[in-house]
Subunit: 186 residues, 2 copies
DNA sequence: CTCCGATCGCTCGGATTCGAGTATTTGTGC
DNA sequence: GCACAAATACTCGAATCCGAGCGATCGGAG
């Protein structure tokens, strides 16, 4: 079980038992779909895996109307423990990750100086837009809930700001020639 | 074809035809395994996919001694074009990604104030260590190749610095009470 | 000259992932 | 009271991913 969505599920069930569809809906309501990739397809797989590990268990299967049955899952004692361990580990140990932008920047040379500047400028614009949305969302959320519950947005904002600053700096460096384009890089 | 490793392969073949094992070796030599997840298993799948798309093609199959045959692949004209488009798109359009730390921070509450501070402190230490390595590696590399070829390391360093700064700030905020721990968060 | 670890180069299959599809029901505007 | 969008709830199969091998060869120590 490596999928962080599993952690999200445990975290939700800490509050109260739910059926899969409700988990997805709740995660989206709380904006946690910015932090977890929540796709329904994967969700059912993840739930099955959590059951296999003994961290959650089916509580009841209710049928409302003629819709498909809903199986409600609740946390086990082991699941409760696992959740904390899981969060703790992910906070403690930086994982090697491979953001697509990092990959792309490795081959920035291929765009040529003018192409690189154009592409980076567009990225900067998009980053500014999404930063605007995040900041607004954060402000609104803070009126509803304590800061601790939206602290991950602050992290996301900081990282986006850092990226934006770097992108702008590189644009400047290319234009001023501080970042030279050697022959070998087309 | 979504795997960025495919982009890395196209980028390598731009220089000269190679067989899969040599691709992996070259990527590692150049330290690009920090930017691309290069696992041999996936590599062969990715190469097959690139052939299917018509972006690379088998050039020859040589047999040296009694070892398994090596199939050498080279770029096609379509592959050359696709590579540029690929880099351009990834630079232009920020992708929604889901770093594990972002997920974990969403449930930071579960660790309690003391637990959170402890875990964050450990992360900070690890980040400092890996920053040290990255900076040293970058310095060394700069003596060998032009800056453009290691510019992705500068990005990685900046992002790690931003994360470290944020982590240290949150530790301070928890300790000073500026980041309060409401009852609901255990 | 012979043993052993490192390197070469690839295959395989289990596990995971997720988009697209299905089918019902509720709500809304006209 | 009817059409139509949205929400409810889940299944399925195709694609992808990747760790764990596997067998050969090479280089160097003794």
């Amino acid at each position: 079980m490596k999928n962080p969505l599993g952690m999200a599920v445990l975290g939700l069930l800490l509050e109260s038992p739910l059926h899969p569809h409700a988990m997805a809906a709740t995660l989206r309501e709380r904006g946690l779909d910015r932090a977890f990739k929540v796709t329904t397809g994967s969700l059912y797989d993840v739930v099955r895996a959590l059951v296999r590990e003994g961290w959650i268990e089916a509580r009841e299967t209710v049928k409302v109307g003629a819709r498909p049955e809903r199986t409600v899952y609740g946390l086990t004692a082991a699941g409760r423990e696992e959740f904390t361990r899981w969060v703790d580990r992910l906070v403690r140990e930086p994982q090697a990750e491979f953001p697509k932008f990092l990959s792309a920047v490795s081959y920035l040379g291929a765009l040529g100086p003018a192409g690189a500047v154009a592409a980076l400028r567009e990225r900067a614009d998009r980053l500014r837009a999404s930063l605007g949305e995040m900041r607004a969302g954060h402000r609104d959320a803070l009126e509803q809930v304590p800061r601790l519950f939206v602290v991950e947005v602050e992290y996301a904002v900081r990282m986006a700001e850092a990226e934006l600053a770097w992108v702008e700096e590189v644009v400047g460096d290319v234009e001023s020639g501080r970042l030279a384009w050697p022959e070998e890089a087309r």
